[in-house]
Amino acid sequence: MLDGRAQISRPWSPRLILSGAWLAFLVAAALLAPWIAPKDPLAQDLFLGRLPPFWVTGAEPGYYLGTDSLGRDVLSRILHGARLALTVALIAGSLTCIIGATLGLLAGFLRGWVDIAISRMIDIWMAFPPVLFSILLIAVLGPGLTSIIIAIVVIDWTRFARVIRAEAMAQGAMDYVASAQVAGRTRLSTMVTEILPNVLPTIVVLLTLEMGISIIVEAILSFVNLSISTDDPTWGGMIAEGRTSVHQAWWVLVFPLVTLFFTVLSFSQLGEGLKDRYDPVLR
Protein backbone atom coordinates (compact mmCIF):
# COMPACT_ATOMS: atom_id res chain seq x y z
CA MET A 1 0.00 0.00 0.00
CA LEU A 2 1.32 3.40 -0.96
CA ASP A 3 0.80 6.13 1.55
CA GLY A 4 -1.19 9.23 0.69
CA ARG A 5 1.79 11.44 -0.01
CA ALA A 6 3.34 9.04 -2.50
CA GLN A 7 -0.04 8.87 -4.24
CA ILE A 8 -0.28 12.66 -4.61
CA SER A 9 3.24 13.11 -5.93
CA ARG A 10 2.56 10.58 -8.69
CA PRO A 11 1.66 12.76 -11.70
CA TRP A 12 -1.21 11.11 -13.57
CA SER A 13 -2.31 7.52 -13.18
CA PRO A 14 -2.85 5.54 -16.40
CA ARG A 15 -6.55 5.21 -15.74
CA LEU A 16 -6.94 8.98 -15.45
CA ILE A 17 -5.11 9.45 -18.74
CA LEU A 18 -7.01 6.70 -20.57
CA SER A 19 -10.46 7.64 -19.32
CA GLY A 20 -9.79 11.34 -19.78
CA ALA A 21 -8.56 10.76 -23.33
CA TRP A 22 -11.63 8.69 -24.27
CA LEU A 23 -14.01 11.28 -22.83
CA ALA A 24 -12.16 14.17 -24.52
CA PHE A 25 -12.35 12.26 -27.80
CA LEU A 26 -16.05 11.69 -27.27
CA VAL A 27 -16.74 15.34 -26.46
CA ALA A 28 -14.88 16.37 -29.61
CA ALA A 29 -16.82 13.83 -31.67
CA ALA A 30 -20.12 15.04 -30.22
CA LEU A 31 -19.32 18.70 -30.89
CA LEU A 32 -18.11 18.02 -34.42
CA ALA A 33 -20.73 15.36 -35.26
CA PRO A 34 -22.57 17.42 -37.92
CA TRP A 35 -19.29 17.97 -39.80
CA ILE A 36 -17.45 14.70 -39.33
CA ALA A 37 -20.34 12.23 -39.58
CA PRO A 38 -20.03 10.67 -43.05
CA LYS A 39 -23.81 10.38 -43.59
CA ASP A 40 -27.07 11.89 -42.43
CA PRO A 41 -27.92 9.87 -39.26
CA LEU A 42 -31.62 9.86 -40.16
CA ALA A 43 -31.32 9.07 -43.87
CA GLN A 44 -32.95 5.72 -44.65
CA ASP A 45 -32.25 3.66 -47.71
CA LEU A 46 -33.89 0.26 -47.71
CA PHE A 47 -31.65 -0.91 -50.56
CA LEU A 48 -28.66 -0.40 -48.29
CA GLY A 49 -30.12 -2.17 -45.23
CA ARG A 50 -27.87 -4.24 -42.95
CA LEU A 51 -24.64 -3.52 -44.77
CA PRO A 52 -21.67 -5.00 -42.87
CA PRO A 53 -18.70 -2.89 -41.64
CA PHE A 54 -15.94 -2.05 -44.11
CA TRP A 55 -13.66 -5.05 -43.59
CA VAL A 56 -16.40 -7.63 -44.20
CA THR A 57 -17.21 -8.65 -47.77
CA GLY A 58 -20.39 -7.05 -49.03
CA ALA A 59 -19.61 -3.66 -47.47
CA GLU A 60 -20.38 -0.46 -49.35
CA PRO A 61 -17.77 2.33 -49.43
CA GLY A 62 -18.65 5.25 -47.16
CA TYR A 63 -20.56 3.10 -44.64
CA TYR A 64 -17.57 2.35 -42.39
CA LEU A 65 -19.38 0.58 -39.58
CA GLY A 66 -22.25 -0.77 -41.69
CA THR A 67 -25.95 0.11 -41.63
CA ASP A 68 -29.01 -0.95 -39.63
CA SER A 69 -32.12 -2.63 -41.03
CA LEU A 70 -33.42 0.68 -42.39
CA GLY A 71 -30.13 1.47 -44.11
CA ARG A 72 -29.06 4.17 -41.68
CA ASP A 73 -25.31 4.64 -41.19
CA VAL A 74 -24.20 3.17 -37.84
CA LEU A 75 -21.12 5.39 -37.45
CA SER A 76 -23.06 8.59 -38.08
CA ARG A 77 -25.74 7.55 -35.63
CA ILE A 78 -23.16 6.78 -32.93
CA LEU A 79 -21.53 10.20 -33.43
CA HIS A 80 -24.86 12.02 -33.24
CA GLY A 81 -25.95 9.80 -30.34
CA ALA A 82 -22.90 11.04 -28.42
CA ARG A 83 -24.42 14.53 -28.41
CA LEU A 84 -27.54 13.34 -26.63
CA ALA A 85 -25.65 11.04 -24.25
CA LEU A 86 -23.25 13.79 -23.17
CA THR A 87 -26.05 16.37 -22.86
CA VAL A 88 -27.91 14.04 -20.52
CA ALA A 89 -24.72 13.27 -18.59
CA LEU A 90 -23.87 16.92 -18.10
CA ILE A 91 -27.29 18.36 -17.29
CA ALA A 92 -28.83 15.44 -15.40
CA GLY A 93 -25.56 14.72 -13.57
CA SER A 94 -25.10 18.33 -12.42
CA LEU A 95 -28.72 18.85 -11.37
CA THR A 96 -28.78 15.59 -9.45
CA CYS A 97 -25.53 16.58 -7.80
CA ILE A 98 -26.72 20.04 -6.76
CA ILE A 99 -30.05 18.87 -5.36
CA GLY A 100 -28.78 15.67 -3.74
CA ALA A 101 -25.67 17.24 -2.22
CA THR A 102 -27.66 20.19 -0.82
CA LEU A 103 -30.19 17.90 0.83
CA GLY A 104 -27.40 15.68 2.15
CA LEU A 105 -25.52 18.67 3.60
CA LEU A 106 -28.66 20.04 5.24
CA ALA A 107 -29.57 16.66 6.75
CA GLY A 108 -26.07 15.85 7.94
CA PHE A 109 -25.16 19.22 9.36
CA LEU A 110 -28.43 20.66 10.67
CA ARG A 111 -29.68 17.28 12.03
CA GLY A 112 -32.96 17.45 13.96
CA TRP A 113 -36.25 17.33 12.09
CA VAL A 114 -34.59 18.24 8.76
CA ASP A 115 -32.49 15.11 9.02
CA ILE A 116 -35.45 12.98 10.04
CA ALA A 117 -37.56 14.20 7.11
CA ILE A 118 -34.79 13.78 4.52
CA SER A 119 -33.67 10.39 5.88
CA ARG A 120 -37.20 9.06 5.82
CA MET A 121 -37.53 10.19 2.21
CA ILE A 122 -34.28 8.42 1.36
CA ASP A 123 -35.64 5.23 2.98
CA ILE A 124 -38.79 5.42 0.88
CA TRP A 125 -36.81 6.09 -2.29
CA MET A 126 -34.51 3.14 -1.59
CA ALA A 127 -37.54 0.85 -1.46
CA PHE A 128 -38.34 1.53 -5.13
CA PRO A 129 -36.66 -0.51 -7.85
CA PRO A 130 -34.92 2.39 -9.67
CA VAL A 131 -35.40 1.15 -13.24
CA LEU A 132 -39.11 0.58 -12.70
CA PHE A 133 -39.39 3.99 -11.02
CA SER A 134 -37.75 5.72 -14.01
CA ILE A 135 -39.98 3.90 -16.50
CA LEU A 136 -43.02 4.96 -14.47
CA LEU A 137 -41.87 8.57 -14.40
CA ILE A 138 -41.31 8.62 -18.16
CA ALA A 139 -44.81 7.20 -18.60
CA VAL A 140 -46.09 10.12 -16.51
CA LEU A 141 -43.94 12.84 -18.04
CA GLY A 142 -44.05 11.62 -21.62
CA PRO A 143 -40.97 10.86 -23.73
CA GLY A 144 -38.34 13.50 -24.43
CA LEU A 145 -35.03 14.86 -23.23
CA THR A 146 -36.51 16.99 -20.43
CA SER A 147 -38.46 14.03 -19.05
CA ILE A 148 -35.33 11.87 -18.96
CA ILE A 149 -33.42 14.54 -17.09
CA ILE A 150 -36.25 15.05 -14.59
CA ALA A 151 -36.56 11.30 -14.06
CA ILE A 152 -32.83 10.92 -13.39
CA VAL A 153 -32.81 13.82 -10.91
CA VAL A 154 -35.93 12.61 -9.10
CA ILE A 155 -34.56 9.08 -8.72
CA ASP A 156 -30.83 9.54 -8.19
CA TRP A 157 -30.62 12.46 -5.73
CA THR A 158 -30.44 9.85 -2.95
CA ARG A 159 -27.04 8.66 -4.21
CA PHE A 160 -25.60 12.07 -3.30
CA ALA A 161 -27.78 12.74 -0.28
CA ARG A 162 -26.87 9.48 1.48
CA VAL A 163 -23.11 9.83 1.10
CA ILE A 164 -22.89 13.58 1.67
CA ARG A 165 -25.13 13.32 4.73
CA ALA A 166 -22.76 10.84 6.33
CA GLU A 167 -19.71 12.96 5.39
CA ALA A 168 -21.29 16.16 6.68
CA MET A 169 -22.13 14.42 9.95
CA ALA A 170 -18.53 13.30 10.37
CA GLN A 171 -17.18 16.77 9.51
CA GLY A 172 -19.73 18.46 11.75
CA ALA A 173 -18.33 16.64 14.77
CA MET A 174 -14.83 18.03 14.22
CA ASP A 175 -13.16 20.77 16.23
CA TYR A 176 -12.75 23.23 13.41
CA VAL A 177 -16.51 23.40 13.00
CA ALA A 178 -16.97 24.07 16.70
CA SER A 179 -14.40 26.86 16.57
CA ALA A 180 -16.15 28.43 13.58
CA GLN A 181 -19.33 28.40 15.64
CA VAL A 182 -17.58 29.93 18.63
CA ALA A 183 -16.22 32.64 16.34
CA GLY A 184 -19.83 33.65 15.79
CA ARG A 185 -20.62 32.17 12.40
CA THR A 186 -24.23 31.24 11.68
CA ARG A 187 -25.04 27.57 11.11
CA LEU A 188 -25.69 28.16 7.43
CA SER A 189 -22.52 30.12 6.85
CA THR A 190 -20.48 27.43 8.66
CA MET A 191 -22.08 24.82 6.41
CA VAL A 192 -21.16 26.65 3.22
CA THR A 193 -17.70 27.92 4.15
CA GLU A 194 -16.42 25.11 6.40
CA ILE A 195 -18.24 21.86 5.62
CA LEU A 196 -18.80 22.21 1.89
CA PRO A 197 -15.11 22.61 0.92
CA ASN A 198 -14.30 19.49 2.92
CA VAL A 199 -16.91 17.30 1.27
CA LEU A 200 -16.23 18.74 -2.20
CA PRO A 201 -13.81 15.97 -3.27
CA THR A 202 -16.50 13.39 -2.52
CA ILE A 203 -19.06 15.43 -4.44
CA VAL A 204 -16.78 15.60 -7.50
CA VAL A 205 -16.22 11.83 -7.44
CA LEU A 206 -19.93 11.16 -7.10
CA LEU A 207 -20.66 13.61 -9.92
CA THR A 208 -18.43 11.78 -12.41
CA LEU A 209 -20.03 8.48 -11.40
CA GLU A 210 -23.49 10.01 -11.79
CA MET A 211 -22.67 11.19 -15.31
CA GLY A 212 -21.93 7.60 -16.32
CA ILE A 213 -25.10 6.42 -14.60
CA SER A 214 -27.16 9.08 -16.41
CA ILE A 215 -25.96 7.79 -19.76
CA ILE A 216 -26.92 4.25 -18.76
CA VAL A 217 -30.37 5.36 -17.62
CA GLU A 218 -30.92 7.13 -20.94
CA ALA A 219 -29.81 3.97 -22.77
CA ILE A 220 -32.10 1.78 -20.66
CA LEU A 221 -35.06 4.09 -21.29
CA SER A 222 -34.45 4.15 -25.04
CA PHE A 223 -34.00 0.40 -24.86
CA VAL A 224 -37.47 0.06 -23.34
CA ASN A 225 -38.50 2.49 -26.07
CA LEU A 226 -39.54 5.32 -23.79
CA SER A 227 -36.76 7.80 -24.45
CA ILE A 228 -36.67 10.43 -27.18
CA SER A 229 -38.27 9.00 -30.27
CA THR A 230 -37.52 5.98 -32.37
CA ASP A 231 -35.95 8.00 -35.18
CA ASP A 232 -33.50 10.14 -33.23
CA PRO A 233 -30.13 8.48 -32.90
CA THR A 234 -29.62 7.31 -29.31
CA TRP A 235 -27.17 4.64 -28.22
CA GLY A 236 -29.86 2.84 -26.25
CA GLY A 237 -32.25 2.91 -29.21
CA MET A 238 -29.53 1.51 -31.47
CA ILE A 239 -28.78 -1.21 -28.93
CA ALA A 240 -32.48 -2.10 -28.73
CA GLU A 241 -32.63 -2.47 -32.49
CA GLY A 242 -29.36 -4.39 -32.53
CA ARG A 243 -30.64 -6.78 -29.86
CA THR A 244 -33.54 -7.85 -32.06
CA SER A 245 -31.38 -8.44 -35.13
CA VAL A 246 -28.27 -9.72 -33.40
CA HIS A 247 -28.20 -12.96 -35.39
CA GLN A 248 -28.46 -11.19 -38.77
CA ALA A 249 -26.41 -8.05 -38.20
CA TRP A 250 -24.14 -8.15 -35.12
CA TRP A 251 -22.57 -4.78 -35.95
CA VAL A 252 -25.78 -2.89 -35.24
CA LEU A 253 -25.45 -4.02 -31.61
CA VAL A 254 -21.67 -4.26 -31.19
CA PHE A 255 -20.54 -0.73 -32.13
CA PRO A 256 -22.99 1.30 -30.01
CA LEU A 257 -22.49 -1.19 -27.18
CA VAL A 258 -18.70 -0.84 -27.26
CA THR A 259 -19.02 2.96 -27.32
CA LEU A 260 -21.42 2.94 -24.38
CA PHE A 261 -19.26 0.44 -22.50
CA PHE A 262 -16.09 2.53 -22.76
CA THR A 263 -17.92 5.75 -21.97
CA VAL A 264 -19.48 4.42 -18.78
CA LEU A 265 -16.20 2.76 -17.81
CA SER A 266 -14.34 6.03 -18.42
CA PHE A 267 -16.66 8.15 -16.29
CA SER A 268 -16.33 5.66 -13.46
CA GLN A 269 -12.54 5.32 -13.76
CA LEU A 270 -12.21 9.10 -13.97
CA GLY A 271 -14.11 9.36 -10.69
CA GLU A 272 -12.01 6.66 -9.03
CA GLY A 273 -8.79 8.18 -10.38
CA LEU A 274 -9.70 11.65 -9.10
CA LYS A 275 -10.56 10.11 -5.74
CA ASP A 276 -7.09 8.55 -5.49
CA ARG A 277 -5.38 11.69 -6.68
CA TYR A 278 -7.09 14.36 -4.63
CA ASP A 279 -8.40 12.61 -1.58
CA PRO A 280 -6.14 9.85 -0.30
CA VAL A 281 -8.11 9.74 2.96
CA LEU A 282 -11.14 8.46 1.08
CA ARG A 283 -9.48 5.30 -0.10
Binding site: A127, L132, L136, A139, I216, F223, R243, F261, S268, E272
Partner: protein, 336 residues
Protein backbone atom coordinates in the same frame (compact mmCIF):
# COMPACT_ATOMS: atom_id res chain seq x y z
CA UNK B 1 -34.49 -7.58 25.17
CA UNK B 2 -32.43 -4.94 23.40
CA UNK B 3 -32.63 -6.98 20.21
CA UNK B 4 -36.40 -7.17 20.48
CA UNK B 5 -36.71 -3.40 20.90
CA UNK B 6 -34.45 -2.76 17.92
CA UNK B 7 -36.54 -5.20 15.94
CA UNK B 8 -39.86 -3.56 16.83
CA UNK B 9 -38.49 -0.09 16.10
CA UNK B 10 -37.22 -1.24 12.70
CA UNK B 11 -40.56 -2.87 12.01
CA UNK B 12 -42.32 0.45 12.68
CA UNK B 13 -40.02 2.42 10.33
CA UNK B 14 -40.50 -0.30 7.73
CA UNK B 15 -44.25 0.19 7.94
CA UNK B 16 -43.81 3.94 7.44
CA UNK B 17 -41.56 3.33 4.44
CA UNK B 18 -44.05 0.93 2.84
CA UNK B 19 -46.88 3.38 3.41
CA UNK B 20 -44.81 6.12 1.76
CA UNK B 21 -44.11 3.90 -1.24
CA UNK B 22 -47.81 3.05 -1.54
CA UNK B 23 -48.86 6.71 -1.43
CA UNK B 24 -46.25 7.82 -3.97
CA UNK B 25 -46.88 5.06 -6.50
CA UNK B 26 -50.64 5.44 -6.18
CA UNK B 27 -50.64 9.15 -6.88
CA UNK B 28 -47.87 9.12 -9.47
CA UNK B 29 -49.50 6.53 -11.71
CA UNK B 30 -52.82 8.31 -11.58
CA UNK B 31 -51.38 11.30 -13.38
CA UNK B 32 -50.09 9.05 -16.18
CA UNK B 33 -51.62 10.28 -19.41
CA UNK B 34 -53.50 7.65 -21.40
CA UNK B 35 -56.81 6.13 -20.35
CA UNK B 36 -56.39 2.45 -19.49
CA UNK B 37 -60.10 1.81 -19.96
CA UNK B 38 -60.15 3.26 -23.46
CA UNK B 39 -57.12 1.09 -24.26
CA UNK B 40 -58.82 -2.16 -23.24
CA UNK B 41 -62.08 -1.61 -25.11
CA UNK B 42 -62.32 -2.56 -28.78
CA UNK B 43 -62.50 0.29 -31.26
CA UNK B 44 -66.06 1.48 -31.74
CA UNK B 45 -66.93 1.40 -28.05
CA UNK B 46 -69.30 4.17 -27.05
CA UNK B 47 -68.76 6.85 -24.43
CA UNK B 48 -71.26 5.05 -22.23
CA UNK B 49 -69.23 1.82 -22.41
CA UNK B 50 -66.11 3.66 -21.30
CA UNK B 51 -67.97 5.38 -18.45
CA UNK B 52 -69.50 2.08 -17.29
CA UNK B 53 -66.15 0.28 -17.18
CA UNK B 54 -64.46 3.27 -15.53
CA UNK B 55 -67.04 3.07 -12.78
CA UNK B 56 -66.56 -0.70 -12.54
CA UNK B 57 -62.85 -0.24 -11.79
CA UNK B 58 -63.62 2.65 -9.44
CA UNK B 59 -61.62 5.08 -11.54
CA UNK B 60 -64.44 7.67 -11.56
CA UNK B 61 -63.94 8.48 -7.87
CA UNK B 62 -61.51 11.09 -6.54
CA UNK B 63 -57.91 9.95 -6.09
CA UNK B 64 -57.89 10.06 -2.24
CA UNK B 65 -61.15 8.07 -2.26
CA UNK B 66 -59.62 5.52 -4.62
CA UNK B 67 -56.60 5.27 -2.32
CA UNK B 68 -58.77 4.54 0.71
CA UNK B 69 -60.71 1.84 -1.14
CA UNK B 70 -57.52 0.30 -2.48
CA UNK B 71 -55.75 0.54 0.88
CA UNK B 72 -58.64 -1.16 2.68
CA UNK B 73 -58.51 -3.95 0.10
CA UNK B 74 -54.73 -4.37 0.44
CA UNK B 75 -55.00 -4.78 4.20
CA UNK B 76 -57.36 -7.69 3.53
CA UNK B 77 -55.03 -9.16 0.91
CA UNK B 78 -57.01 -7.87 -2.07
CA UNK B 79 -54.86 -5.91 -4.52
CA UNK B 80 -57.65 -5.47 -7.08
CA UNK B 81 -57.82 -6.91 -10.57
CA UNK B 82 -55.47 -6.32 -13.49
CA UNK B 83 -57.09 -4.16 -16.16
CA UNK B 84 -55.46 -5.96 -19.11
CA UNK B 85 -55.91 -9.59 -18.06
CA UNK B 86 -58.83 -9.13 -15.60
CA UNK B 87 -57.24 -11.57 -13.17
CA UNK B 88 -56.55 -10.74 -9.52
CA UNK B 89 -53.30 -8.77 -9.20
CA UNK B 90 -52.15 -10.90 -6.27
CA UNK B 91 -52.40 -14.13 -8.31
CA UNK B 92 -50.54 -12.62 -11.26
CA UNK B 93 -47.80 -11.16 -9.11
CA UNK B 94 -47.31 -14.25 -6.95
CA UNK B 95 -47.26 -16.35 -10.14
CA UNK B 96 -44.27 -14.39 -11.42
CA UNK B 97 -42.49 -13.92 -8.09
CA UNK B 98 -40.82 -17.38 -8.07
CA UNK B 99 -39.13 -16.69 -11.41
CA UNK B 100 -37.63 -13.45 -10.11
CA UNK B 101 -36.65 -14.95 -6.76
CA UNK B 102 -34.90 -17.91 -8.42
CA UNK B 103 -33.03 -15.54 -10.73
CA UNK B 104 -31.99 -13.23 -7.86
CA UNK B 105 -30.85 -16.05 -5.60
CA UNK B 106 -28.92 -17.73 -8.41
CA UNK B 107 -27.24 -14.38 -9.14
CA UNK B 108 -26.40 -13.95 -5.47
CA UNK B 109 -24.86 -17.42 -5.29
CA UNK B 110 -22.76 -16.75 -8.40
CA UNK B 111 -21.69 -13.36 -7.02
CA UNK B 112 -20.63 -14.78 -3.65
CA UNK B 113 -18.77 -17.70 -5.26
CA UNK B 114 -17.03 -15.52 -7.83
CA UNK B 115 -16.28 -12.65 -5.46
CA UNK B 116 -15.13 -14.98 -2.69
CA UNK B 117 -12.85 -16.82 -5.09
CA UNK B 118 -11.34 -13.54 -6.32
CA UNK B 119 -10.76 -12.29 -2.77
CA UNK B 120 -9.17 -15.53 -1.57
CA UNK B 121 -6.97 -15.88 -4.66
CA UNK B 122 -5.94 -12.23 -4.39
CA UNK B 123 -5.05 -12.65 -0.72
CA UNK B 124 -3.17 -15.90 -1.27
CA UNK B 125 -1.15 -14.34 -4.11
CA UNK B 126 -0.85 -10.85 -2.65
CA UNK B 127 1.80 -8.68 -4.20
CA UNK B 128 1.87 -10.77 -7.37
CA UNK B 129 0.85 -9.91 -10.93
CA UNK B 130 -2.24 -12.10 -10.47
CA UNK B 131 -3.43 -9.85 -7.65
CA UNK B 132 -2.93 -6.76 -9.80
CA UNK B 133 -4.89 -8.42 -12.62
CA UNK B 134 -7.71 -9.29 -10.21
CA UNK B 135 -7.80 -5.67 -9.04
CA UNK B 136 -8.08 -4.36 -12.59
CA UNK B 137 -10.76 -6.94 -13.42
CA UNK B 138 -12.72 -5.99 -10.29
CA UNK B 139 -12.45 -2.31 -11.18
CA UNK B 140 -13.89 -2.87 -14.65
CA UNK B 141 -16.59 -5.26 -13.39
CA UNK B 142 -17.65 -2.70 -10.81
CA UNK B 143 -17.76 0.25 -13.21
CA UNK B 144 -20.08 -1.29 -15.76
CA UNK B 145 -23.69 -1.99 -14.73
CA UNK B 146 -25.62 -5.24 -15.14
CA UNK B 147 -27.51 -4.00 -18.22
CA UNK B 148 -24.30 -3.71 -20.25
CA UNK B 149 -22.89 -6.98 -18.92
CA UNK B 150 -26.11 -8.63 -20.09
CA UNK B 151 -25.61 -7.31 -23.61
CA UNK B 152 -21.94 -8.32 -23.61
CA UNK B 153 -22.90 -11.84 -22.50
CA UNK B 154 -25.58 -12.07 -25.19
CA UNK B 155 -22.94 -11.26 -27.79
CA UNK B 156 -20.31 -13.60 -26.38
CA UNK B 157 -22.27 -16.68 -25.31
CA UNK B 158 -25.49 -16.22 -27.25
CA UNK B 159 -24.13 -15.25 -30.66
CA UNK B 160 -20.36 -15.69 -30.95
CA UNK B 161 -20.20 -19.03 -29.11
CA UNK B 162 -23.88 -19.93 -28.69
CA UNK B 163 -23.76 -22.09 -25.56
CA UNK B 164 -26.63 -20.47 -23.62
CA UNK B 165 -30.18 -19.42 -24.48
CA UNK B 166 -30.64 -15.66 -24.84
CA UNK B 167 -34.36 -15.42 -24.17
CA UNK B 168 -37.10 -16.97 -22.07
CA UNK B 169 -37.07 -19.05 -18.91
CA UNK B 170 -37.42 -22.52 -20.40
CA UNK B 171 -37.66 -23.92 -23.93
CA UNK B 172 -41.38 -23.47 -24.80
CA UNK B 173 -41.80 -26.89 -26.45
CA UNK B 174 -40.83 -28.77 -23.27
CA UNK B 175 -43.58 -30.44 -21.23
CA UNK B 176 -43.41 -29.13 -17.68
CA UNK B 177 -44.67 -31.43 -14.92
CA UNK B 178 -44.34 -28.71 -12.29
CA UNK B 179 -47.00 -27.81 -9.75
CA UNK B 180 -45.29 -24.64 -8.53
CA UNK B 181 -43.56 -21.83 -10.40
CA UNK B 182 -40.21 -22.54 -8.76
CA UNK B 183 -39.02 -24.35 -11.89
CA UNK B 184 -35.35 -24.59 -10.97
CA UNK B 185 -36.03 -25.83 -7.44
CA UNK B 186 -38.76 -28.25 -8.47
CA UNK B 187 -36.77 -29.75 -11.34
CA UNK B 188 -34.16 -30.82 -8.79
CA UNK B 189 -36.77 -32.21 -6.40
CA UNK B 190 -38.37 -34.23 -9.18
CA UNK B 191 -34.92 -35.40 -10.32
CA UNK B 192 -35.66 -34.10 -13.82
CA UNK B 193 -32.10 -33.07 -14.60
CA UNK B 194 -32.87 -32.72 -18.32
CA UNK B 195 -35.29 -29.91 -17.46
CA UNK B 196 -32.90 -28.54 -14.87
CA UNK B 197 -30.16 -28.21 -17.50
CA UNK B 198 -32.52 -26.42 -19.87
CA UNK B 199 -33.66 -23.99 -17.14
CA UNK B 200 -30.08 -23.28 -16.05
CA UNK B 201 -29.16 -22.75 -19.70
CA UNK B 202 -31.76 -20.00 -19.81
CA UNK B 203 -31.03 -18.49 -16.41
CA UNK B 204 -27.26 -18.53 -16.39
CA UNK B 205 -26.57 -15.45 -18.50
CA UNK B 206 -29.11 -13.10 -16.87
CA UNK B 207 -27.96 -14.33 -13.45
CA UNK B 208 -24.31 -13.80 -14.35
CA UNK B 209 -25.03 -10.30 -15.68
CA UNK B 210 -26.66 -9.41 -12.35
CA UNK B 211 -23.83 -11.08 -10.43
CA UNK B 212 -20.77 -9.48 -12.05
CA UNK B 213 -20.93 -6.02 -10.37
CA UNK B 214 -21.79 -7.56 -6.99
CA UNK B 215 -19.00 -10.14 -7.33
CA UNK B 216 -16.55 -7.29 -7.88
CA UNK B 217 -17.76 -5.47 -4.76
CA UNK B 218 -17.47 -8.64 -2.69
CA UNK B 219 -14.04 -9.38 -4.15
CA UNK B 220 -12.73 -5.90 -3.34
CA UNK B 221 -14.11 -5.55 0.16
CA UNK B 222 -13.40 -9.10 1.32
CA UNK B 223 -9.83 -8.95 0.02
CA UNK B 224 -9.27 -5.66 1.80
CA UNK B 225 -10.57 -6.97 5.13
CA UNK B 226 -8.64 -10.22 4.68
CA UNK B 227 -5.39 -8.37 4.09
CA UNK B 228 -5.99 -6.20 7.15
CA UNK B 229 -6.77 -9.26 9.26
CA UNK B 230 -3.67 -11.06 7.98
CA UNK B 231 -1.52 -8.42 9.71
CA UNK B 232 -3.09 -8.98 13.14
CA UNK B 233 -1.13 -10.67 15.92
CA UNK B 234 -3.32 -13.73 16.27
CA UNK B 235 -2.78 -14.57 12.62
CA UNK B 236 0.98 -14.26 13.06
CA UNK B 237 0.64 -16.53 16.09
CA UNK B 238 -1.21 -19.12 13.99
CA UNK B 239 1.60 -18.93 11.47
CA UNK B 240 4.30 -19.43 14.08
CA UNK B 241 2.40 -22.51 15.21
CA UNK B 242 3.27 -23.87 11.81
CA UNK B 243 -0.05 -23.72 10.00
CA UNK B 244 0.15 -23.39 6.23
CA UNK B 245 -0.86 -20.23 4.37
CA UNK B 246 -4.13 -21.76 3.09
CA UNK B 247 -5.17 -22.82 6.58
CA UNK B 248 -4.29 -19.39 7.99
CA UNK B 249 -6.39 -17.59 5.38
CA UNK B 250 -9.40 -19.90 5.43
CA UNK B 251 -9.66 -20.89 9.08
CA UNK B 252 -8.06 -18.00 10.95
CA UNK B 253 -8.49 -14.79 8.92
CA UNK B 254 -11.71 -15.45 6.99
CA UNK B 255 -14.15 -15.85 9.93
CA UNK B 256 -13.08 -12.47 11.32
CA UNK B 257 -12.82 -10.66 7.99
CA UNK B 258 -16.21 -11.71 6.67
CA UNK B 259 -18.56 -9.55 8.77
CA UNK B 260 -18.30 -6.23 6.86
CA UNK B 261 -18.74 -8.13 3.59
CA UNK B 262 -21.86 -9.88 4.88
CA UNK B 263 -23.55 -6.57 5.72
CA UNK B 264 -22.61 -5.12 2.37
CA UNK B 265 -23.90 -8.17 0.50
CA UNK B 266 -27.25 -7.72 2.20
CA UNK B 267 -27.62 -4.11 1.10
CA UNK B 268 -26.30 -4.83 -2.36
CA UNK B 269 -28.70 -7.75 -2.75
CA UNK B 270 -31.61 -5.29 -2.86
CA UNK B 271 -29.83 -3.42 -5.68
CA UNK B 272 -29.41 -6.73 -7.47
CA UNK B 273 -33.13 -7.48 -7.14
CA UNK B 274 -33.88 -3.99 -8.50
CA UNK B 275 -31.63 -4.82 -11.46
CA UNK B 276 -33.79 -7.81 -12.41
CA UNK B 277 -36.34 -5.41 -13.93
CA UNK B 278 -34.21 -4.47 -16.91
CA UNK B 279 -32.27 -7.76 -17.06
CA UNK B 280 -35.50 -9.74 -17.33
CA UNK B 281 -36.56 -7.42 -20.14
CA UNK B 282 -33.24 -7.87 -21.89
CA UNK B 283 -33.44 -11.67 -21.74
CA UNK B 284 -37.25 -11.87 -22.22
CA UNK B 285 -37.34 -13.73 -18.90
CA UNK B 286 -40.89 -14.15 -17.60
CA UNK B 287 -40.48 -12.60 -14.16
CA UNK B 288 -41.94 -9.73 -12.19
CA UNK B 289 -39.78 -7.03 -13.76
CA UNK B 290 -40.74 -7.91 -17.29
CA UNK B 291 -44.38 -7.97 -16.23
CA UNK B 292 -43.94 -4.55 -14.58
CA UNK B 293 -42.63 -2.94 -17.77
CA UNK B 294 -45.55 -4.38 -19.74
CA UNK B 295 -47.93 -3.11 -17.08
CA UNK B 296 -46.52 0.42 -17.43
CA UNK B 297 -46.78 0.27 -21.22
CA UNK B 298 -50.40 -0.96 -20.97
CA UNK B 299 -51.27 1.57 -18.22
CA UNK B 300 -52.45 -1.34 -16.05
CA UNK B 301 -52.67 0.75 -12.87
CA UNK B 302 -53.67 -1.95 -10.33
CA UNK B 303 -50.95 -4.28 -11.59
CA UNK B 304 -48.25 -1.56 -11.43
CA UNK B 305 -49.27 -0.77 -7.85
CA UNK B 306 -49.14 -4.41 -6.85
CA UNK B 307 -45.71 -5.03 -8.36
CA UNK B 308 -44.12 -1.88 -6.92
CA UNK B 309 -45.48 -2.69 -3.45
CA UNK B 310 -44.19 -6.24 -3.70
CA UNK B 311 -40.71 -5.01 -4.67
CA UNK B 312 -40.79 -2.56 -1.76
CA UNK B 313 -41.79 -5.36 0.62
CA UNK B 314 -38.93 -7.54 -0.63
CA UNK B 315 -36.39 -4.70 -0.32
CA UNK B 316 -37.41 -3.72 3.19
CA UNK B 317 -37.59 -7.37 4.28
CA UNK B 318 -34.05 -8.00 3.02
CA UNK B 319 -32.77 -4.87 4.79
CA UNK B 320 -34.52 -5.86 7.99
CA UNK B 321 -33.06 -9.35 7.82
CA UNK B 322 -29.57 -7.95 7.23
CA UNK B 323 -29.83 -5.61 10.22
CA UNK B 324 -31.01 -8.43 12.45
CA UNK B 325 -28.27 -10.79 11.25
CA UNK B 326 -25.72 -8.09 11.84
CA UNK B 327 -27.01 -7.41 15.34
CA UNK B 328 -27.03 -11.12 16.10
CA UNK B 329 -23.55 -11.73 14.70
CA UNK B 330 -21.87 -8.67 16.15
CA UNK B 331 -21.56 -8.94 19.96
CA UNK B 332 -20.73 -5.23 20.27
CA UNK B 333 -24.10 -4.25 18.82
CA UNK B 334 -26.03 -6.75 20.90
CA UNK B 335 -25.56 -4.83 24.12
CA UNK B 336 -25.30 -1.37 22.65
Amino acid sequence: MQLLRTFLLRLATTAVTLFGVAVIVFFVIRVVPGNPIAMMLPPGATEADVAQLTALYGLDKSIPQQFLIWGAGVLQGDFGASITSRQPVLDLVLGRLPATLELSVMALVIAVALGGFMALTGTRLRGSKTEAAIDVGNGVALSVPDFLWGLVLILLFGVLVPVFHISGRVTPSLELPFSTNFYLFESVLRLRFDLWADIVGHMFMPALALAIPLAAIIGQLLKQSLKETMNLDYVTLARTKGYGENHVILSEALPNAILPTLTLVGVQFTFLIGGTVIIERLFSYEGLGNMAIDAVINRDLPLIQGIVILFAVIFTAVNLAVDLCYAALNPRLRHA
